[in-house]
Symmetry: C2
Subunit: 455 residues, 2 copies
């Protein structure tokens, strides 16, 4: 059975990748096509994402047109868009055949309006109607994520009738773990878990074994809220309802997993000043342009810090040791403050931080800053006294360090929370705003004290 | 039906939280207990996580002992440990009743050995045997995540027999989406999707409708690899096998979702120098100590930068404008380099970057650095000429900026990849190593050129 024992380990991807890129370089397209035929759509998507743009397009030409839809839906936005702009509407319409409604809608959203109209017009009438209905909901809501392909039953039939009905249907939507029970007005009144269906006697009425659904998802709920509900409730799928509790669709865990990963990655990428959809292998010009904005913001921050130093040019002129040491305090403040910012951003993202506990958190982080401030003030003060042989200089840097770490703790809590209240993404702007504050406070206090006591 | 329309929105958590903390302050424990009775275990867990340590313990005393096991398994590690150390072995044993094997094992792992032995001895023999078996597998592997409670069937029976068997059993494990087909030696030979079971005719043989399982999960696969497989294959559950392909357990999506979120959060928290399990509301002393390590590393980095400036003390002594401007180039290099580091860390984490494309990425990031270097060198050079009226100084800062942004691009790719080869977590050490490089290169080039051409 050893030959059955084949799970693709991450390192295998890169072996495949090297084999494919070598084959591409040598023009062995037939060989590559054969390799791609043996791969699952999601693995081909992974291969495309890990390839530089040029090989990506060649690889795409070699994939099976019938699998292209499934491959596209597994790609990240940037990579997907890069491929789709080069496809003809007929090719796109063909690729969407057999795909879930929500996935087709997801693909069409990234196309220009006239192109997506073109693609829609190539689809058959029933599919088109479904997709158009899905497109009517905003993208980042439950309505935009849901699938309209649901199995509904009535409450007054027996388990046996349901089983016959399902056998007649012959196919169930993916990840079906429950059938939805609706009344005569299509209102959701309960759900029948598949496991309950399987373990109940054939003559039981659905009404007896169904469960109430008191937490169906409102169609206008945001995708991040949907994701955190799924995560907390350990759901596999959940019904979506409109304001009158009519069943309008169903969301499955596989779409939610993508949102969970995206939301969690968003914070990390934003904190470094990157768009979370940024393609690792994007063309140079595109990358340079998108990062430039962040560098531009930092130029202003760096110039602001420099103009603080400039206020003390006279002091700097008189004692070079001050210039040598002046970067230490801002650097420590930046690191300490960013620890707090990261903690607060995660707390805000998972919903742990709100009005009820902000004050507690503020006190805590100020105290953490004070404690660490005392420790590092003593250490750095001591190092400076030994290094520069100037007791006053050691005292000044220690005082500046202590002040800056307390400021870092306080600003680390308040800056992200204020940004969120102002509807600015704290992950994006928090780190830089914080660093600007700690740089300016650190430099002013250190240079200010030095001016007062040393020159 | 409007009263049915109750989904807990994130903002509601904080209303509940405020109500609870007000009730706690006023000593209205009975009221709080009643509120907790109406809440789901996962929502109580969320409430505990969002509470300061003191209220946490009071709240815990007020929860229903029968729900404590379920609440514990929803808590993050730090918070869970804080509560469990205060519980008696009998209470713990009672709390684990009715829980999944893998979840009990997860709880017991965080206890000291003698306490977990105590708890085990209080459990009934069958449960104890199952949990001990689960504990035998290392924590961060498929074996440590899996549940041993699986439903197996033989391939030579009909669908009708399977249905009768399931009705007799009466209950199926949570999130069951497939039954596993094994041979006489308990080797996994296929799986029967529940949806196939429901839509097949009663007289069909299992052999005809089952599917091959060519990608069962090896019991020693790491939890991150399991998570990325689930994510790519859109699985709800998957069988786990040993080296001889014996079925040993089953992993479900709810456990995987936690790993996906943890892995994604890990990068963000580590990059800011935080432990990813750090509790937002941890006690001050504990927080201060855990963050201190990172500040200590930064002290060394800041002192290294200061000793570079120190080499040029003579230059700084002669021209204060140089000291004023010297922080700009390191700051820009740090930001640009950290953009690249974040991109590479994500690429390494999702498996997009490997030997096959490192060189391509290195070239790309060096070029991005060059392009942005030219842009910002011109801008900053221009600003300095206008500000300080010194053409040479503008040229020097422009040259230093250009050099440092190219260095940032190259180091941003190589540092995380080298760290990973050295088995050091790139998310943890990458940012600081990068900043140290860009600080030292930025200062040396700027101050070095200034020494050569200005004094």
């Amino acid at each position: 059975m050893a030959e059955n024992y084949e799970v693709e380990q991450p390192s295998q991807t890169h072996q495949t990748l090297q084999e494919v890129s070598r084959a591409l370089e040598n023009g062995m397209f037939v060989h590559v096509r054969r390799m791609l035929e043996d791969m699952e759509p999601e693995d081909i998507a992974h291969l495309l994402e890990a390839s530089p743009p040029k090989s990506r397009l060649v690889l795409w030409q070699l994939t099976d047109p019938e699998e292209q839809g499934e491959i596209l839906e597994e790609l990240s936005e940037d990579v997907k868009d890069g491929i789709m702009v080069r496809m003809q509407p007929e090719q796109l319409a063909a690729a969407t055949e057999g795909m879930d409604t929500d996935d087709v809608a997801y693909l069409l959203r990234s196309l220009p309006d006239n192109v997506s109209q073109d693609v829609l017009s190539q689809m058959d009438a029933q599919d088109r109607a479904r997709v158009e209905q899905a497109l009517a909901y905003p993208e980042e809501t439950a309505g935009g994520m849901m699938n309209t392909d649901v199995v509904t039953i009535r409450s007054d039939v027996t388990v046996d009738v349901v089983l016959r009905y399902l056998r007649m249907k012959g196919k169930l939507p993916e990840a079906t773990d429950a059938l939805y029970v609706v009344d005569e007005n299509s209102r959701l009144i309960g759900e029948l878990a598949i496991t309950a269906l399987l373990t109940s006697q054939p003559d039981t009425e659905v009404l007896e074994v169904m469960e109430d659904v008191d937490d169906a998802i409102p169609v206008d709920m945001s995708d991040s809220d949907v994701a955190s509900l799924f995560e907390r409730r350990n759901w596999v799928s959940a019904p979506v309802v409109d304001k009158e509790y009519h069943l309008v669709g169903r969301i499955t865990i596989d779409d939610v997993v993508d949102i969970i990963r995206e939301d969690a990655e968003h914070s990390m990428m934003s904190m470094a000043g990157l768009d979370d959809e940024e393609d690792t292998f994007a063309p140079v010009l595109k990358s340079a342009r998108s990062r430039s904005i962040w560098l531009g913001a930092n130029v202003l921050a760096a110039l602001a810090a420099a103009s603080v130093s400039n206020l003390f040019e006279n002091t700097l002129d008189q004692m070079a040791a001050i210039a040598v040491l002046m970067t230490i305090v801002p650097s420590m403040g930046g690191v300490a403050g960013n620890q707090t910012v990261a903690l607060v951003i995660r707390g805000l993202a998972v919903g742990h931080i709100g009005d009820s506990n902000t004050r507690w958190l503020l006190n805590k982080e100020a105290l953490v800053g004070l404690l660490n401030g005392v420790v590092w003030a003593c250490i750095i003060g001591g190092v400076v006294v030994l290094w520069k042989g100037n007791l006053m200089l050691g005292g000044i840097i220690a005082a500046a360090m202590l002040t800056n770490l307390v400021v870092a703790g306080v600003a680390g809590v308040t800056v992200p929370i204020l940004l969120k209240k102002m509807k600015v993404d704290p992950a994006l702007a928090g780190g830089m705003a914080l660093t600007t504050i700690t740089d300016m406070v650190g430099l002013s206090v250190f240079l200010g004290l030095a001016t007062l006591f040393l020159v």
